[in-house]
């Protein structure tokens, strides 16, 4: 038997072992599940003053790099 016939036989056997899915219809609305997922993982919201604080810290470290060891010591 050549490879081509072998492949055809193999494909046929594969389709017998794994018949194509006939019923692909979704049985229920999944939106409630989606809402639960969204509630469990609300989008991360960082308050504006946290951004100001972070920006201030970065600016201070850029201006006074000598303060980096002191900052690390206090972390």
């Amino acid at each position: 038997m050549n490879n081509h016939e072998d492949d055809k036989e193999l494909r046929a056997l594969l389709k017998q072992a794994f018949p194509p899915i006939q019923d692909t219809e979704l049985q229920r609305d999944l939106w409630p599940q989606m809402l639960r997922r969204m509630d469990e993982h609300p989008p991360l919201h960082v308050p504006w003053f946290d951004w100001v604080l972070a920006a201030g810290t970065v600016a201070a470290l850029l201006i006074f790099p000598g303060a980096i060891p002191a900052l690390l010591y206090h972390l």
């Binding site: 492949d7 594969l14 389709k15 017998q16 072992a17 018949p19 899915i21 979704l26 989606m34 969204m38």
Partner: protein
């Protein structure tokens, strides 16, 4: 503003609209890959969760369906990587009864084992092409690879399957 623009801007109602419009399509695509209705439902939600989180990166003038299908395929692929092969593809979809039951079961067992041992990326493409008979262009778009690479993966999958089956036949014959 169009639905896709509102979705990209973070409008939850627009997201709900897209979800309701496409959940069946996503489920139908995923269930054909993972062949398990329960897992396909979870993965449909996972797909839309990934879509929701990536909304900032979506171009409202782009092809939403193609983007969605790609994300769904990746979610299904991640699932196939996670799930142990022994429990995979058994699901709730029995095969039709044909021929001598003993021979059929033996053959089915060998084919199933060989197929499940394929590397996941080959199994995904082989499932879509050889079992579900999806066009190569659809598979290429959904997996993010070229049509040529789809053909290569199918060729390699068939070659690997043939090798494995020959080995299993030899193994069975020696017992």
């Amino acid at each position: 503003m169009e639905l896709l623009e509102r979705f990209a801007a973070g409008d939850t109602d627009a997201f709900e609209g897209l979800f309701r419009q496409h959940q069946r399509e996503v489920y139908a695509w995923i269930v054909r890959i993972v062949r398990d209705s329960g897992a396909a439902e979870d993965l449909t939600v996972e797909t839309f969760w990934r879509i929701y989180r990536a909304r900032d990166r979506f171009d409202p003038h782009g092809n939403f369906r193609a983007w969605m299908r790609r994300i769904a395929t990746n979610a299904a692929l991640d699932h196939l990587k996670r799930v142990r092969p022994e429990t995979e593809l058994t699901g709730d979809f029995p095969s039709p009864v044909r021929g001598d039951p003993a021979i059929r079961d033996e053959l089915r067992r060998h084919i199933t084992r060989a197929f499940l041992e394929l590397p996941v990326k080959y199994r995904l493409v082989a499932t879509l092409a050889l079992i579900e008979e999806e066009p190569y262009t659809e598979i290429a778009q959904a997996t993010g690879i070229s049509v040529a690479l789809v053909k290569v993966r199918i060729f390699r999958a068939v070659r690997m399957l043939r090798k494995k089956l020959n080995f299993l036949r030899l193994e069975a014959a020696s017992k």
